[in-house]
Amino acid sequence: MRSSTLQTLGLGSVFEIFQNGKLPVTADELVDQIFGKDGNRGALVITGANGIVGAGKTMQLGSRLEPFGVPIVALDFPGIPDGLAKQYSGLVRAFGKGNANKVMGNIIKYYYDGKNLPKGLAAHNPKFLLEAIPEILEIKKEHYKTFRDNFPDIDIWSVTSGFPGSQLGVGIAHPAFPHEVNKIWEIVEPTPSASSKLLWALGLIPMQVGDNWAFVLDVFFCGLTGAGARFNEATNMPYWKVDKYIRKYLGPNPFRAHDAIGAKGANFLTWSCLHHLSKHYGDLFAPSENLTEKKDSGSNWYPLDHFRPMVDWSLNEEEMAEFNAWILGPLFQMTSLMIHENRSHLSQMNLIGELCAQFTKGVLAVVRNMGADEVRKIVADYHKLQPKAAKQAWYPEVFDKINSPEWQQLYVNAEHNGKVGVISINRESYNHDVNDELNRAIDWLKSSKIENVIITGDFHISTQMVGADTTDFFPAIENATKGIELSKEWSATARRLNSDFKTSVGFINGKRCLGGFLELMVHCHYLVAEENANLGMPEVTLPVIPGMEGCHWPLRKLKADNYKNFLKFILSGKSVKAKDSVGWLADYAGSMENSIKMAWKLASGGDHGLKKREVNENSITDIPDEITGLENTDDAGLTEARKAILDCIMNSCKATLAEAISVQAKFSGDFMTTKLCKKGVVGNAYNKTWQV
């Protein structure tokens, strides 16, 4: 339908992974290529290693490169507070004490005066420099010169959030906050390098972006902050309340984020980003007076504790239109600029906002759903409020292509070779957009007479499948009909994987597949998973009742003696390893390579040796209502949720397959309006974000 984002890294398409029966590259070969062969590994040097970015990346890369024996040299000025030690507790939480100690034991700390490199550094054979020093162009350039003078062959990347590579003279690898865990890196380089491929092979998410000021992420995030600041200036609405509205309608709370990151540094970076952008693109980005004041003072955006907000604010219809103009207007205009400059693959551009800046939906998805005309109208309304912004950086014509596959398939792609299709999903949680795009992908494959399909994560942006996007449940919290509709609609899509293809294979390539995504995948004729992938249905812990037929579809594929395994699984909410679920949930679990090969065999008609488990279309009446092996709980809420799910299981299994979709949907939709659900995770999130 469109190009795979994996192709932007020079790693081929998702389809080719299955066709070739293996991943395109391995970390071993890339480590050898970049750092030298085992026994003679050179070092990764990180400068500014005690800063927020430097320390985070020392941990992230250190933990991934330690098993390969790549030493990490952490370099900083003397007297800088130790940022690395602060990371230790997180490292222990993530990897356990033993592994954390190994990671820390592989870090070599040096201090230097900014001009003369430590004498001992050469002994570590530096091969790669990741620079994370302050955002001052001349200092950065001098820094690179020092390294190149001493180590002429060293590769250099800067983590700069703004300067283009053309100004710095080095590659860019701009990471996203929080740096120790966020896997996204915006990469600027002429062609995909071994280093970017290595990030991918290490399980990180490099995304190629254009060599333009502030790339993509900071245009969205700083741009949104700037828009919020202007809205405050125009309306006096306090920042905390602007945040609440932005959070409700878009997802991020930019002002809280600045305070959480550290207002002094974050305010400067946002101001600096917008200031530099405004030099190139005009008033669309010009920092407002209040942002400049916050940059100068370094003060928080939210009031001090003793002045916690007292007067609430609300927006009437007219004011809401003004909010849209002030907030969405500039955001849409910035999007037009980035598309015009071809800053990134549209799917990546869309998902950078979601994965790095808390957007509930990517800005491109918002644009698409709104439609080009409405988007242009909102930008026009914004230009009435800030006429100078209209003079530059506005490319309304980019929205003419909104019906192209690049726009329509932001989250779901499909490829085929005339016989086998591969549907790849790059969003970690299932929402209405994914549902719509999945239907379009299925339609496209069917129109191409494809009868066999593999559905999978995209091996790039989505490293896991965490289930339904519960923000899409919010309308159902006060209206059961909305929940019932959602459940029926998503279930109908899932059923197409069973009914529209001769063979369908659900392939789980990531760390986990949970909830709604697992419900989707089990509708495939075969479920194949990497053996250590975690499979789970945590709905009971939220609590919600599974809405995509998880309460009866898997049971219809089981013999009676396996019911208890699944019932324990769904009622406990605990995950299992894929390899422990073979026979009652997964059909096959093996190494990544073997799983890829198995999926291909199943889809292409190869000799796979697996027996297809048929779906029982009749009423099932022998589901046990006493579940053995389920841990008792004192938690009344959990007990009640288990009972509700069990009721749904009994009733939806008792129905025929044709009837069950409605039965399950009714249980699921009705439950979302209950007090129990409202008190739970979904209800709390609804109250926090939607009750503005």
Binding site: N232, A234, N236, P238, E289, E293, M310, V311, W313
Partner: protein
């Protein structure tokens, strides 16, 4: 319209850049539980936002409040911070004269071209009055404890009398008849409720949702809580506390805020909701009358004001009085030979309450709105204040 010279030719009150909270009776609303200065600052930002005026327009803030609040030491600047704008400010107070004087000070600052836009923000919380502990070597107890609101109402240290006694004493001096006061009071309530039903108050009163420290709703301030319609019969039946004074013919303590802007001529046109309306400062005086005769002070102040400007009561399109006691209006009518039925047409503090500093600010706003409705003219605003003070000011709406 007779034309007289403006006291501040370079200053204007931009139409509509004003607003007030409702004035809930004391102890009767969420305002009894908050730092009123923070509320006032946040509420002013909200009001200006609804009026499409950015807080950025303000250069200076004149703050008026008469009852101590937490962190009062910081006064104007901290209240401005609560509004979201780091500007300088100045605190001023003289009991119920505060509102008018604050507006005049802002006018003076703008007229002298110190600032383009000066905000006036007046507020008070009479509920749960703070208590001050004062070393007092001349008192037999050596240390005096004063509940700021209640104890001061009950004792004027200059005369040794209570506020209420001044009303009775002045009523006797002018031989005011109780029946007249009851009738006057009944009219005042009718005026208030007629204006309310006509939607007049919607032009300048704003509702506020008050949050607790967890960010949840503490209460809504969406009416003058405690104000109920009252009949002449009920008023007549009430027990007299002093000559002509009953609980029905005096005001009640309340909490609230009121704000307006003063701007240069050019800026006023820019930020006004109706730039074609011109609101000018004409003149203002304060006087102090004899001991314990506070209710006669407003009339004396108005007479002095008219003498100085050459205007007469016939020149006034709108006449509006801060009248904590209904006898104030009766005395004013008698001393100025003016029909009290022609004044306070849209409500007055006798009815909607008495939070001190913002009282005259709300009175001014109401008077200006009424004048605009009537097509312009001179607006006379006056009232009494603790210490037997009378204050009066004239504005011109054209």
């Amino acid at each position: 319209m007779k034309v007289v010279e403006s006291m501040f030719p370079n200053a204007r009150i931009p139409y509509g850049t004003w607003g007030s909270s409702y004035f809930p009776a004391w102890q009767a609303s969420a305002l009894a539980e908050v730092n009123i200065a923070q509320f006032a600052g946040e509420a002013m930002a909200n009001i200006l936002g609804k009026r499409k005026v950015s807080r950025k327009e303000l250069d200076y803030l004149v703050v008026g409040s008469t009852i101590p609040w937490h962190w009062k030491f910081w006064n104007g600047p901290v209240v401005a911070s609560c509004m979201g704008q780091r500007i300088p400010g100045f605190q001023m107070e003289q009991a119920c004269a505060t509102g008018l004087s604050a507006v005049i000070v802002a006018g003076s600052e703008v007229n002298s071209k110190s600032y383009d836009v000066a905000g006036v923000l007046t507020f008070d919380r009479t509920s749960d009055s703070p208590v001050g502990v004062f070393p007092e070597r001349r008192a037999y107890r050596r240390t005096e404890v004063i509940s700021d609101v209640w104890d001061n109402f009950g004792f004027d240290p200059s005369t040794g009398s209570a506020m209420l006694e001044t009303a009775g004493k002045t009523a006797r001096k002018y031989k005011i008849d109780r029946a007249e006061v009851d009738e006057l009071t009944a009219l005042r309530y009718k005026q208030y409720f007629d204006a309310k039903k006509a939607g007049f108050q919607d032009k300048y009163l704003f509702s506020f949702d008050i949050l607790n420290t967890q960010g949840r709703l503490l209460g809504k301030i969406s009416e003058d809580v405690g104000v109920r319609e009252i009949s002449l019969k009920t008023l007549k039946e009430q027990r007299e506390l002093d000559s002509c004074i009953t609980s029905g013919t005096q005001t009640h303590a309340a909490d609230g805020m009121a704000t307006l802007l003063v701007a240069s001529v050019e800026k006023a046109k820019e930020i006004s909701l109706k730039p074609e309306i011109n609101i000018e400062f004409i003149s203002k005086v304060d006087i102090r009358t004899g001991p314990g005769l506070m209710p006669e002070a407003p009339g004396l102040a108005v007479q002095k004001l008219l003498d100085r400007t050459g205007l007469t009561m016939n020149d006034m399109k709108v006449v509006k009085n801060h009248n904590p006691f209904a006898v104030n209006d009766a005395i004013f009518g008698k001393t100025m030979n003016y029909d009290w039925a022609k004044m306070n047409n849209t409500g007055c503090s006798l009815v909607w309450g008495h939070p001190q500093a913002p009282t005259l600010t709300r009175t001014i706003i109401e008077a200006l709105e009424e004048a605009v409705d009537l097509g312009g003219g001179y607006v006379l605003v006056f009232g009494c204040a603790a210490g037997d003070v009378g204050t009066a000011g004239i504005f011109r709406v054209s």
